[in-house]
Symmetry: C2
Subunit: 299 residues, 2 copies
């Protein structure tokens, strides 16, 4: 049931104050009304209607998406790996129960099989109710939804027959504090690699950070990924309702010679019509960093 208040809302403004993730700074959104609040088995879930960004999903006090700008994140985390692959057929999404990545994947007609692994059924149920523009693809016949732990699912997938493995794996998790903690560790990257079909395959993961917030963490995370994937690159997407206005992604390939900054395919005319954010130029631009960050993450 919707409550009249929440600890993150003061004087009608939601505040993303979090001393661990965003010390000394916060993004705030004006609240029209609270639509839902509960603690699920896994996390604190808040949904509110904002005055200018549509409905907003908040997990453990951190904005996951708003209706107005979510496509900036969903399109980049989906289309960067999809257009890096020359012929993707089978995709796995870990997390992302809101359905946004699925909606983007369904723009690729050539995909035969899409699997979504979400630990928290409540997120899916709430997305269907409050974020219908994101959740609308979850019922597509090409999509299988598995309600289980992503790490455990991946453990099984990594020991499956090679032909059953994935062309692209997208980790669309929440932040490392909470149920997604395991998704930021070396053993997770090893499972990712073992669950890939071949050298053409691509992995992408959201990092929960950006170069301004916590570049030390990103140095460690890219170093961890590089132990497993020699070809690992950091890129970022600009999302105004994430603190600092940007969010980092890491892209990994088992093929050391693959240029991750340049798409292997360009969108067809029909695909392009459905893209509000992604284009081949912004794919490339998303890997370009300011000198100080480039030196720390790419040298």
């Amino acid at each position: 049931m919707a409550e009249q208040t929440h600890p993150t809302i003061v004087d009608g403004w939601f505040r993303e104050i979090n001393d661990t993730c965003f010390p000394g700074q916060a993004f705030t959104l004006k609240v029209d009304r609270i639509l839902y609040h509960a603690r699920s088995e896994f996390q604190d879930i808040l949904v509110f209607k904002s005055t200018h960004y549509g409905n907003v999903l908040v997990l453990d006090g951190i904005v996951q998406c708003t209706e107005r700008d979510e496509f900036a994140y969903q399109e980049m985390i989906t289309h960067i790996p999809l257009y890096l692959h020359t012929d993707p057929k089978k995709v796995l999404v870990i997390g992302g129960g809101d359905g946004g990545v699925i909606r983007e994947l369904l723009k690729h007609q050539q995909l035969a099989e899409i699997t979504l692994v979400e630990i928290d059924e409540t997120v899916i149920r709430l997305a269907r109710e409050y974020l219908p523009g994101m959740a609308r693809g979850l019922d597509d016949p090409r999509v299988q939804v598995k309600l289980c732990d992503g790490f455990e699912f991946l453990r099984k997938a990594s020991s499956a027959e090679q032909s059953e493995k994935y062309d692209v794996i997208i980790t669309d998790s929440s932040d490392p504090e909470g149920p997604a903690e395991a998704f930021f560790q070396e053993r997770y990257f090893r499972l990712l690699k073992d669950a890939l079909r071949d050298d053409n395959s691509v992995v992408i993961a959201q990092t929960s950070e950006n170069v301004w917030l916590n570049i030390k963490y990103l140095e460690d995370l890219t170093a961890t990924a590089k132990k497993v994937f020699p070809n690992t690159r950091y890129c970022n997407t600009m999302v105004p309702t994430y603190t600092s206005g940007q969010l980092g992604l890491i892209v990994c390939s088992p093929d050391a010679s693959k240029d991750l900054t340049t798409p292997a395919r360009t969108p067809t005319a029909q695909e392009d019509e459905n893209l509000k954010y992604y284009n081949p130029e912004i794919h490339h631009a998303s890997f370009v960093l300011p000198n100080w960050a480039d030196q720390l993450l790419n040298n």
Copy 2:
């Protein structure tokens, strides 16, 4: 004298709440202590020490710069036009009394003459005291500081001898509400054009907006600039303490054939050592927009 409080600070947090500029959203910074507050003849000026971003200058309630991330703005608004010019010698800066753009200009050894026009002496005085890392270039012998209205200065400059005119003009103003209002109108762009030395010259101006906050305003502003400069392009820089994390700039050239997205020169090795943000790749990337914004601003 420093006061103990300010209307924008509640519970120890500065909040950039502004129903005109940022309806329904705000960036907030935790305040260590207020260093200065007064109303000058022209505007409300607040300087505070933040817990994580160093000292912060706020004009009329809007963050102008923080010590930690100011270089992201200063480098891009300075080096984009400087490296677009094949041989700049003489530069005019309108606004920017904090000195940040001057510091960046001084990295270009080839410049012979730099003029800063600032209407509000208080900004210069406060920058010397509280933002010394930005103001340090103001005493360089190549720099002339004029305390007067930028619009009036430009009116005279536009009717000077051609040889007295400028290779690059940078409008580093505050926002259109307040003393900088005239800097966003067609007659200002006409003066800018008339104050340029030749077709190689370049103009850049901060827009106070970005594609997420107010793209209608940016459409109007670029249309206004295009009436005067057929070659006008929008680009943006990523600054975490500006609301949405990005700020738009417009770049104009009298030469319709000039490619504004590609620098005409690359930094020398010595210049490159002094650049924390700018590089030729980020110059190009700053002009790349998401599809929806590209269609509105570039088509």
